[in-house]
Each structure stands twice: as C-alpha cells, then as structure tokens.
Symmetry: C2
Subunit: 207 residues, 2 copies
C-alpha cells in the first residue's frame, strides 16, 4: 500500500506536468514564467525544482510523452509494413511526422531538441536521447523486416542503412521545426524526394 506521502508526490508531479503541457502549448515555452506554472500547478517555485531539474527539463518530459506515443504506433507499422520499400519507409516516417504537432508546437520542438544537444547530461536529456535511439532502432528493424520479406536486397546491412535513414529524417525534421512557415506537406515532399532514390537502390530488382 502506498503511503500518503507517495500519493501526494505523484499527484504534484502530475499537476506540474499537466500545467506545463497546457501552458507551453497555449502560450509558448519561453513566454511561460516559472512562478505562473507553479501557481497553476498549486505548488511553489521551489517545489517545481524538487521534481524537475530545470525549466527545460519539464519541457523534455512533455516531449518525451509525445515520442513514447509515436513509438507505440510505429511498432505496429514495423510489425506489418505495407508492400514496397519506399512505401513502407514513408509510412513509418510520415507517421512520425504527422503526429509531431498533435500536442507540441514547433517552438517546443526547437527548444527540446536544442536542450538535448546542449545539456545531454541532465536526467531528461538522457531520457530524450534514449528515445531517439529507440526511434532509430525502429527504422533499422523496419529495414530488417523488409529484408526478411525479400523486398530489400540481401547484401544490405540493415544497421548502417537504418541509421542513415534515421539521421536523415531527423535532420529534415530539424529543418522543419526551424522554419515556422514550412508546412507538414512540404516536409513530406522533401523527405520523399530524399528517400526515393535510396529506396530504389536498396530494393530487390523485381520489387
């Protein structure tokens, strides 16, 4: 049985994260002051810092929620990808992209990615990096799956190619969030143009 203290702790942490998601999204990460956030979560500023190391840490926690969700959906695609190398790769990639703005703004993504580079040693910085690796692993898995099914050439090693594809889609996502005027549609086109020749290259002749 969990004691009162543990329940209160869990509740406070949840309240802080709730307030953060709502406020960051509504008014932007930068514009939200920490004392406001604390007010909204019904705790003091000091308490926020008992649960999260920095303001950025709170943001990364909210982003992590989103990424976990995307990974969940992605695993279904990996388990049974559509036919065709290009189609399958784009299905997974577009799934990532299409969900990216469901709960998060571009500003939030920008800040979170910046933080994961700048402060890779914080708890949530590492958490974010771990999620990134998981996403990468999913792409590798997909390539491996397509190879099993005989759609990807037998002499292709899924690991370096999967990483190549992941690094590429990640960089293109960064370009996307850097430019507020770029649409999801434009991102899709750009990555498709990028992937098409590569997909053709690793696909078996008769695909």
């Amino acid at each position: 049985m969990t004691g009162l203290r543990d329940r209160q702790k869990a509740d406070r942490e949840r309240r802080i994260l709730d307030a953060a998601v709502r406020m960051f999204r509504a008014r932007g990460y930068r514009a939200v002051r920490l004392d406001e956030l604390a007010d909204r979560a019904d705790v003091s500023v000091g308490t926020v810092y008992n649960y999260y190391q920095t303001k950025g840490d709170i943001l990364i926690a909210t982003v992590a929620l989103e990424v976990e969700e995307v990974i969940g959906i992605g695993s279904a695609i990996v388990a049974d990808p559509p036919r065709g190398v290009e189609t399958a790769l784009l299905a997974l990639i577009f799934e990532y992209y299409d969900h990216s703005l469901n709960y998060l703004s571009k500003e939030m993504w920008r800040t979170a990615m910046a933080l994961s580079i700048e402060a890779p040693d914080t708890r949530n910085g590492q958490h974010y990096s771990a999620l990134d690796r998981k996403l990468c692993g999913q792409v590798i898995e997909l390539v491996a799956r397509l190879k099993e099914r005989g759609e990807v050439r037998d002499d292709i090693d899924p690991e370096p190619f999967g990483e190549l594809i992941f690094n590429n889609l990640n960089m293109m996502f960064i370009e996307f969030v850097k430019d507020d005027s770029m649409t999801l549609e434009a991102l899709r086109c750009a990555v498709a143009a990028q992937m098409r020749p590569l997909a053709a290259m690793i696909a078996t002749e008769d695909a």
Copy 2:
C-alpha cells in the same frame, strides 16, 4: 577614407570577438560572464549589445569563423578529390571533423548548434544556417565531381545523395559533441562504417 568613428567601431567589434574566442575557449562559454567579457574587450556591457544581439550571438560569430575556414580548405578537396568514392568522401568529411576542435571546444559546438536550432531568426542564427547549406553544397559538389570522373554511377543524382551524406555526417557530429568522452578517432570510425556501404552502392562497378 574611413572616418575615426568607423575605425573605432571596427576595432571594438574585433576586440569583443577576440576576447570572446579567447575566453570561451579557455574557460567555457557558460562560465564566461558578459561583464567580464566586456571588461576584457575594454568596452561596457551595453556596448557589447550594440554589436551583438545576445551572448549566444557572439558565440555563433566565433563558430562561423571556424566554419568559413573549413569551407575554404574543403573547396580544395572538392576541386581535386583523391581516387575512389569512399576515399574522396572520407577525405572531405575527415577534413571537417579534424578541424572542428582546433579553435572550439565541444561545449562551444553544443551551444552553437543548440542556438542555431532554437533561435534560427537571429542574424547570426541565419548566418550559421547559411554556412551549413554551404557545407552541404560542397558535399553535393563532390559527388557531382566524382560522377563527372566516372567514379559515381551515372544514374545517381548528386543532390539527394549529397544531402543524405551531409545530413548523416552532421547528425554524427552532433552525437560526437554531445558526448565529451567520445574521441575524434571514434567519430571517424563510426562515420566510415556508415559511409562504406553507401559509397560502395553509388560507385561504378569497376571502381
């Protein structure tokens, strides 16, 4: 003829940048306070802000210097690359990597890259992005050059493949600066492993 005012302005800007390069490198970007930097450059804090928009802006300016230098050296390699697709690509990539820590620390790179994502609208943020595009262009140019020489297959379009390679080396560089314990040698190995299968794939049969 340049008036006294213009000369003094140029001199002050140079002094600030000089002090910044020296101090950031010696003591770390974060650890350098702006009033110290201003002291060292023999100007007031306010004056620093007449020349640069933010502290990060100063950092990006110092990083830009380094990148410009690397681009200069790279163009020689592109003009006359060594034989062999893999060899040529790695020559250019390693040139980038090997110079990266000449004047800048990993912390400076981390911060600069983070800033270029987080604040892409600042003057120097755009400057940095432009340099990035230039680097990417150089890789594309190299692929095109190798194609001309018949080392890269004729049905390969240099643009998407060049971008693919650039995005990849950029992401691997990010991983490198994120991990203080990772050596240049380890980075080289990682990127070589990544490039080998791709190089083999786009090279002409008889290479």
